[in-house]
């Protein structure tokens, strides 16, 4: 009997962990896919940028600022109709990916913008002077030169995504957060609560360390 319960608990935790990893991985990919271009555009279109464009800059800044200003829990609930429209349901891990991505990409876009801003102007100018076109400037200079900073920013974002994915438990998003709310909060099951915390900490730790290690391996600035 006791063994069965333990196995159930194990399966529960295992499931929740996998759900969290699923949510975070997919959300990370979508955040990258949306946040990177938005961040690049934010950088290019600003007043002193390579291709100043008041309209686009205004629009993107508005979007990003709104996304950054809203507390995630509020965004999570506010986006329920939108999530239903996209995924067809508002429950479960897949549904949770929508608000997580929309909550995280503005943050990542800002990180991209500031990472690109760190690239020395002279290096960009040198390639302009060579006759490089905008493709060369963006893909051969800006992004590779900013790569270590972008990777650091992505690590930061993924850690934040783990937090967001836990919060998605509030609306039944599945994963470790959901588990903590249902068992730890509603059933006062301290054991499951404790294990959940440990797993979350481990996840964050692994992401952070691998990110740092990768940056160190790929960074030739020093």
């Amino acid at each position: 009997m006791r063994g069965v319960i333990l196995n159930n608990v194990q399966a529960l935790l295992m499931n929740a962990t996998l759900e969290t990893i699923y949510m975070v991985s997919l959300a990370a990919i979508f955040t990258l896919m949306i946040g990177l271009p938005v961040g690049v555009l934010l950088f290019l279109c600003r007043k002193d940028g390579l291709f100043p464009n008041k309209g686009i800059a205004l629009l993107l800044n508005l979007l990003v600022n709104i996304g950054r200003a809203l507390p995630f829990v509020v965004l999570l609930i506010a986006l329920i109709p939108f999530t239903r429209w996209i995924v067809g349901t508002t429950l479960g891990s897949t549904a949770a990916i929508v608000p997580i991505t929309l909550g995280a990409f503005p943050f990542f876009a800002r990180i991209v913008e500031s990472a690109l801003d760190e690239v020395e102007r002279g290096r960009i100018e040198a390639v302009v002077a060579m006759g490089g076109n905008s493709w060369h400037l963006i893909c051969r200079v800006l992004l590779p030169e900013a790569f270590p900073a972008l990777l650091t920013g992505l690590t930061l974002t993924i850690v934040m995504l783990i937090g967001f994915s836990a919060m998605a438990g509030v609306i039944g998003g599945g994963g470790l957060g959901d588990l903590a709310i249902r068992y730890g909060y509603q059933r006062f099951d301290n054991q499951i609560m404790a294990v959940t915390i440990v797993i979350l900490l481990l996840l964050v730790f692994v992401v952070q360390k691998s990110g740092e290690r990768l940056v160190r391996r790929l960074d030739h600035r020093r």
């Binding site: 020395e120 002279g122 290096r123 100018e125 040198a126 390639v127 302009v128 002077a129 060579m130 006759g131 490089g132 076109n133 060369h136 051969r140 200079v141 590779p144 030169e145 790569f147 030739h220 600035r221 020093r222």
Partner: protein, 262 residues
């Protein structure tokens, strides 16, 4: 040949023009030094030659082509004809030495299969063949500038613009970079425009010199001509320079002027 025709640059809000009706002619295959105090407009002038800085008025004629009239695409094409090197080298740190040069080859549209040979040739010219796979962060200042020169030469330009190219280097390294520039001018017939605040640089490699002050060109001409006019302030600056070279003075003050006209 580069002709600057009444070139002016005004920055909005600035009280004085950054450049005021500059007229300069730089014959093919010569080295022109532009000197002046910081803030005199040297850098703006140099950067106007390849349109990194758009002049407010006047023309930049390169081989009779007015650069101010070119479309962005034509301008990119034209810029490949004009290498540029910088005080802080501006190498890309995410690429090793070979790949820095490779980018210039790619931009110039050199076929991929020719890249290795071209890179080797360029590195041989700047004597850095052994550093092909080093990262810029592993190189000394002089080596970085050599890579920058190799990169600037990748598209086989006819012109080389040097923006304080030796100002961040020690005297010995400066000398070796200047020798390299002289070699390029002599062997490849490249026209070099360099800006510097160091009169020793002018004395060492320039054929002609222009003095800029408050965005105006006060004086310009072949070095020999300037050394022959006693009232010239440029001459005074050249002589007053801390490192007066006896040989240099002897060369210009004892009738050898004709021989030194390049």
């Amino acid at each position: 040949m580069i002709i600057l025709d009444a070139l002016s640059k005004y920055y909005p809000g600035a009280s004085a023009p950054a450049l005021h009706e500059i007229n300069l002619t730089i014959p093919q295959g010569q080295i022109l030094g532009i000197v002046g105090r910081s803030g005199a407009g040297k850098s703006t002038l140099l950067r106007s030659i390849n349109m990194l800085e758009r002049p407010s008025a006047g023309r930049v004629l390169i081989d009779d082509k007015d650069l101010t009239l070119l479309s962005p695409r034509q301008l990119r094409q034209q810029r490949q004809q004009m290498g540029m090197i910088f005080q802080h080298f501006n190498l890309l740190h995410a690429r090793n030495v070979s790949d820095n040069i490779r980018l210039a080859l790619t931009i110039a549209g050199v076929p991929k299969k020719d890249h290795p040979a071209r890179i080797e040739m360029l590195l041989r010219r700047v004597r850095l063949l052994d550093k092909a796979h080093s990262w810029p962060s592993q190189l000394s200042g002089g080596q970085k500038q050599r890579v920058a020169i190799a990169r600037a030469l990748a598209a086989e330009p006819r012109y080389l613009l040097c923006d304080e190219a030796t100002s961040a280097l020690d005297p010995e390294t400066t000398a070796s970079i200047l020798n390299l520039l002289l070699e390029l001018q002599q062997e490849l017939g490249i026209t070099v425009v360099l800006i510097t605040h160091d009169m020793a640089v002018v004395k060492r490699i320039c054929h002609s010199v222009a003095l800029l002050e408050h965005g105006r060109c006060l004086e310009s001409g072949p070095l020999a001509q300037i050394m022959a006019s006693p009232a010239s302030s440029l001459r005074q600056m050249l002589i007053d320079d801390g490192e007066v070279e006896r040989a240099f003075l002897r060369k210009y003050l004892t009738g050898g002027i004709k021989k030194c006209v390049a």
